[in-house]
Point group: C2
Chain length 334, copies 2
Amino acid sequence: MTNIRKVAELAGVSVATVSRTLRSPDVVSPATRDKVLQAVNEAGYKPNLMAVRFRSRRTHNLVVLVPTIANTFFARVISGIQEAAQERGYGVLLCNTNGHEETEATYASLVTTRQADGVIQLRAYNPFPEDADSDGTPLPMVNACEVLDDAPCPTVKLDNRAAARLLTEHLLALGHRRIGMIKGPRRSPLTRDRVAGYRDALEAAGIALDESLICPGDFTPRSGYEAAGTLIARAEPPTAIFCESDEMAIGAISCLKQAGLAIPGDISVAGFDDIDFASYSDPPLTTIAQPAEAFGKQAVAMLIDVLERRHQGEPHRMLPHELVIRGSTGEPAT
Amino acid sequence: MTNIRKVAELAGVSVATVSRTLRSPDVVSPATRDKVLQAVNEAGYKPNLMAVRFRSRRTHNLVVLVPTIANTFFARVISGIQEAAQERGYGVLLCNTNGHEETEATYASLVTTRQADGVIQLRAYNPFPEDADSDGTPLPMVNACEVLDDAPCPTVKLDNRAAARLLTEHLLALGHRRIGMIKGPRRSPLTRDRVAGYRDALEAAGIALDESLICPGDFTPRSGYEAAGTLIARAEPPTAIFCESDEMAIGAISCLKQAGLAIPGDISVAGFDDIDFASYSDPPLTTIAQPAEAFGKQAVAMLIDVLERRHQGEPHRMLPHELVIRGSTGEPAT
DNA sequence: GAGCCAAATGTAACCGGTTACATCACACCG
DNA sequence: CGGTGTGATGTAACCGGTTACATTTGGCTC
């Protein structure tokens, strides 16, 4: 392995000069710089980054904790993270937690064992009960997408409440009065905000909330399929269903069609996320578009700001959403 | 930062003893072992893994080169990689190449700069023209899913030719004689094998190949949508379409329905991969199921075998496929 | 009791960089 | 001409572990 000493020898200078030539070229004279660079080339020298990082106490790696990468939305967020990280010279260590908190804790320890500089978590769960490293310094972390209420770190999220309200208002405007909701797992702040937005809209329209129209799911098509089955089995079934993810909406549609219902003729369905498949569903899904890649990029930018001690201003950001109206929602049957 | 010397001091032993207690507990006496472990606990000591790895010249990281993580199939493969790697104590450095070869080369250099021990690539592209490190040692690499013909490394793939033949035979058995194909990008070995399987089946059935029925796509729903449009605009349109991915099949179905065609009444559609959405499409997709997660696990196992010099036997593996018949294929209209 | 061996532990070199500090050459000034 | 400041380079300590080799200890044999 060619190391810095070989290069130094080859160039006839000291190792310090080689190091300086590569790290801060401006402090060495042009003549030596050329000599060193030529020697570097000749020797095919590449610095051993493990050594560099060990010495500089910076790994240039970010851990990403994601509940499941198999979810289309998260896949897009990760794409954004990946791209932004690469641009700034950071690597991405992926951790698919599958919701196991212990797995998350394991991966978060990558930071305390100096394998990564910081954590981006895409789920509201604080893997650090103490919220601090053993020596009291807070863990560099950014919380994106699903955000803790009192997150002790920068956050990026959607205004889920406003978005859910917007979508519900769209359904109300079409004339729906009984609107079902397939929400996410209980206890999730994201779901809670969206349910709040749904309530806001109903309340503003003077419609009483019917708890029996709210069904939990887990963001998979299967859970949407099952929840839709439950909803239409009600004595007074809804005329529209608001699903908290496009995946669940697609599952729901599959169930409704099998039950012989026309969409949106008999029942309207709306989703959330605007994944690729939303446009190709039959009928195409009305949904809330989220800037998934932007979440990733923003999260990386914020985390690196923290890491590089550029603590400027407001660490909580909201990204914009947009209502995309397609064919799966329409006026209720009279 | 608590380091090994503090622990040694606390336990009243030398640093070597501490190191040995943690790495090879069997060579230290039970009494000292207990002393050391207690000191480790007391000090809240965690080894600095950057130092460990630097010294031991093993990063315990694997780079994964993936064309696009936004593809559902790859997301599942990565899930498998992730899980298997974690089990064996390796981290996963993700590289979403978006098909840019230069990006791949950048990431592959993570290995030469000692940031990762090996590479798993999910696409047939050799980022190392020289196929070797500068000092002549071959790069630890495994090629999975889409595999180079003459891959100089272990590989895991599907028997794409047989799978495509199987699916085509299913369509032939239903009575189809004009079968369109929406394939992947040109030059891809994966696509070439699948086209070969399609040909095999047609040939065996005594049907002449009509090149105009083969349309290229890029595995996205959009490209499936567009290719389907092209196919049905032919003078003699096909009565069935075989898509090389479920994503494209879903796009194709969307296009066909918009054109007023019933599926499978007027035209059958089959996919490949058996992604989650395949079951929830309308109609549900007939497709070839691939063990996506197993690809990931297998690739990790093989790569670690290479890394740990356990070079045993046959380094090329095929995973099984399965024809899943659902509602999107049926007999042609008479 | 001397001699020997094995097991347990300590000492210190080493991995490959970075960087604080020392050194040196040289120009400029009063 | 001595003093001083500046820019370029060299020397060597250091990061936090691992491990080859040296040393110590104690049990066993003859």
